[in-house]
Symmetry: C2
Subunit: 257 residues, 2 copies
């Protein structure tokens, strides 16, 4: 031990080891879902382009998907500020989709088509490391999504993507969207845990920042392709998170699961 | 078909077949948990008798367990009638347990002992058919408990008993206990389903009766040993339930899962 801090490398190792010690109290890990666990952008583009070919409806489906997600914060802000009463994500998505269908000049869609497109969010696929990482983590921890998605969306997505959760923590249960404190604290309350016994794993620094302020443990999972080739935000950790991992398999490794 | 109703047996078969047709709309099945999925009485008695031997604390542990469950309705009634504000099941259990420890003259228990005993409900084991039945049903349906147990209790119990749910529907999410309508209707609301697309499977006729009035489908699962050898209630179906099955494997069979 006497020379264990002589080189930068061993110093870094010690820091990680100390942190791993602090993390012994973690009993539950909740996961941001869109972007962190599932690849929403590629999944939606693939589904919609196949739909367009099937129905001979050529359109800028990629543009529509990007614009849809681009309006996400503004949609949620209407709920966050109280400008509209609680509205779940399926309904926020649907209102935005109807506008985008018009803006992108897509014609001839039935009500059933619009519903199918909107439920594209229920059919997202996982990043390649997610199923293995979560399966391993579930053996040692209580795991669940902590997502702005509504319960039906998250239940259907889990079945479609092959994810197995212990509990689904949806913003819908708390009637407010992340980063409202009630979402993070709702997890520890429902699990009967202290906030320091819960870790949030997320690809978004704002989410980890809100969780850390409330005493949760934090793990950053970079997803530099989430927004496609032009992604500019969340390319790396921007806070003093407890862990910075490569992916969810690496998170399992680091936590000994 | 002309002679298909000639005998009582074929008539009964037809009735079941018609019902199976009606049941094609079922997309989610929720399960009463204490008694229907897990054998709370044997599990608790076994845990507590082992504890008593380990700690040299002989006591009428069976009597305590029966009295504990016997006070269950009265405890919940205090919440149902509004006499006390919302209190989750762990806390109701604990208040009752403290009284019973005194009534049964059990001395020398620490706070940690009492907490361990109370969390006996988190460590219940499943009836022998439950894991196989639920595993099969989960392939074809969304499944979850619909239980008066709190979220932490149900999450921990599922891990302990090896149950895998898609979502946990706890009375705690709705802040009211079964048979309040908000519990049954909360399931269909959160899943984005009609109430007729949800089935309740339960060993208790009162529970099925409340669900049926709200339009849910119903399956009676007899558990004539739930309360031990002296059980007098719920020995058989007492209503016109959609299905009466032997156990959860039989439920999977009957629903083609």
């Amino acid at each position: 031990m006497s020379n264990s801090t002589e080189t930068p490398d061993s110093g870094r190792f010690l820091k990680v080891a100390e942190r791993a010690g602090e993390l012994r109290d973690v009993k539950a890990i909740v996961f941001d879902t869109f972007g962190t666990v599932v690849d929403w952008r590629s999944s939606l583009i693939e589904q919609f382009e196949a739909f367009g070919r099937r129905r001979a409806l050529p359109a800028d489906w990629t543009g529509l998907v990007d614009a849809w997600r681009g309006g996400y914060e503004a949609s949620k802000d209407k709920v966050r500020t109280g400008a509209v009463p609680w509205t779940n994500l399926d309904d926020l998505h649907r209102a935005a989709l109807d506008g985008l269908i018009e803006a992108f000049d897509i014609e001839g869609l039935t009500e059933a088509d619009r519903d199918w497109l909107n439920r594209g969010w229920h059919r997202l696929t996982a990043w390649p490391d997610a199923v293995e990482g979560l399966t391993r983590l579930r053996r040692a921890f209580v795991i669940g999504p902590l997502s702005n998605g509504n319960v039906a969306l998250l239940v259907n997505m889990a079945k479609h993507a092959g994810l197995t959760w212990d509990m689904i923590f949806s913003a819908e249960l708390f009637q407010c969207y992340k980063p409202h404190p009630d979402t993070y604290l709702g997890v520890s309350r429902l699990l009967g845990l202290e906030s320091g016994e819960v870790m949030l794993a997320a690809a978004h620094n704002y989410d980890l920042s809100a969780a850390k302020k409330l005493g949760l443990r934090t793990a950053f999972v970079p997803r530099p392709q989430e927004y496609g080739p032009g992604q500019v935000a969340d390319l790396e950790a921007e806070g003093d998170w407890d862990l910075v991992v490569r992916d969810l398999v690496d998170l399992a490794e680091r936590l000994g699961a």
